[in-house]
């Protein structure tokens, strides 16, 4: 199917067809990253406009979807930069929930895991969950309670694999802010994934 497409590269792309084939996917991906559907709509629109301009450079190399997602990622980081300029980092609670209850005990072992929250073995593997087509929904739900900037820091680090310097510059935070945010995000997400999935017998 894709080979047939490659044999006859279209001179000018059909933007309506793009919108039908990739619009929802891009929108859902952008919503997951930006946590704001109005901003996600804007990002999708900007992506298509940029794609129309840059179509000559694409020329059917690789999949259209991957190419469009690549452009969308740039629009997403542009959004994060704008957001960082408009709302500078404020109070420590902006970094996310501390989850002090995870380490509160009354038996003389304070600051060690409270057995109600302590990690235990995971019964399901994420690969199984990905196969079931549920991983992103569960992960997305778990990400929702986190402050926007903390969620952004986490996904830039763990989904995009960006380095600390780049993320700090993008979000207008210090490396210490970043480490606290990543730590809190991990503490929260691991617990949430555990409760909703991996800790359960399926």
């Amino acid at each position: 199917m894709s080979e047939a497409k490659r044999e006859e590269p279209k001179k000018s792309p059909d933007a309506g067809l793009w919108l039908d084939q990739h619009g929802d996917y891009l929108f859902k991906y952008a919503t997951f990253r930006l946590r704001d559907s109005a901003a996600a709509e804007d990002a999708v629109q900007e992506t298509f406009l940029a794609a129309l301009k840059a179509y000559e450079n694409f020329q059917g190399r690789g999949s259209e979807r991957t190419w469009l997602v690549g452009i969308l990622k740039h629009k997403i980081t542009d959004h994060f930069r704008r957001m960082a300029r408009e709302t500078p980092i404020g109070e420590p609670e902006d970094e996310g929930p501390e989850h002090a209850e995870f380490f509160t005990r009354t038996d003389g072992w304070d600051n060690h895991w409270n057995t109600d929250y302590a990690p235990t073995e995971w019964h399901a593997t994420p690969a199984q969950l990905v196969e079931r087509g549920d991983f992103w929904r569960v992960f997305n739900d778990c990400l929702t309670p986190l402050p926007q900037r903390t969620a952004a820091a986490f996904t830039l680090r763990e989904v995009d694999g960006l380095g600390s310097d780049e993320i700090c510059e993008m979000l207008g935070i210090s490396v210490n802010n970043l480490w606290v945010m990543l730590h809190r995000a991990r503490l929260h997400l691991r617990n949430c994934l555990h409760l909703n999935w991996f800790g359960k017998q399926h």
Binding site: A15, G16, L19, G23, D24, Y25, F27, K28, Y29, E41, V44, Q45, F48, L49, L52, T66, V69, K73, F102, F103, D110, N111, H112, W113, A118, P119, T120, E121, W122, T125, P126, A127, V130, G133, D134, F135, W136, R137, F139, E158, V159, G161, S164, L178, W179, L182, H183, R186, L187, L189, R190, L193, H194, F198
Partner: protein, 104 residues
């Protein structure tokens, strides 16, 4: 329990009291994903993990999360399913208009 197990148990408990507690250790575990730990931090973490199954699991789970997110990346078949809402028809129409206007 034989004397060996008893001794091992006692050593583990003693260590857990002496070492930085879990609350600090989970922070160190997260930092170990971000930077090279100092030799002292590395030794303390290793010892803590040796005596604390919970923190061992914690570290393992973080690694699993990281690998899964990295591997699935941006190719997420789930997002093609209609079970989660996509663009509203208004948004779709608005984008279409913009694209047409841009072409002209």
């Amino acid at each position: 329990m034989g004397w060996y197990d008893k001794t091992k148990h006692a050593v583990r408990f003693w260590l857990l009291r002496k070492l930085p507690p879990c609350k600090e250790t989970v922070m160190t575990i997260s930092q170990s994903f971000e930077r090279r730990l100092s030799p002292r931090e590395r030794v303390l973490l290793k010892l803590h993990l040796w005596v604390c199954m919970w923190c061992q699991w914690y570290m393992e789970h973080l690694q699993i999360m990281r690998n899964t997110l990295h591997e699935t990346g941006t190719d997420i078949p789930e997002l093609d399913s209609p079970s989660t809402p996509g663009l509203t028809s208004e948004a779709r129409e608005r984008i279409k208009q913009q694209l047409v206007a841009d072409k002209k």
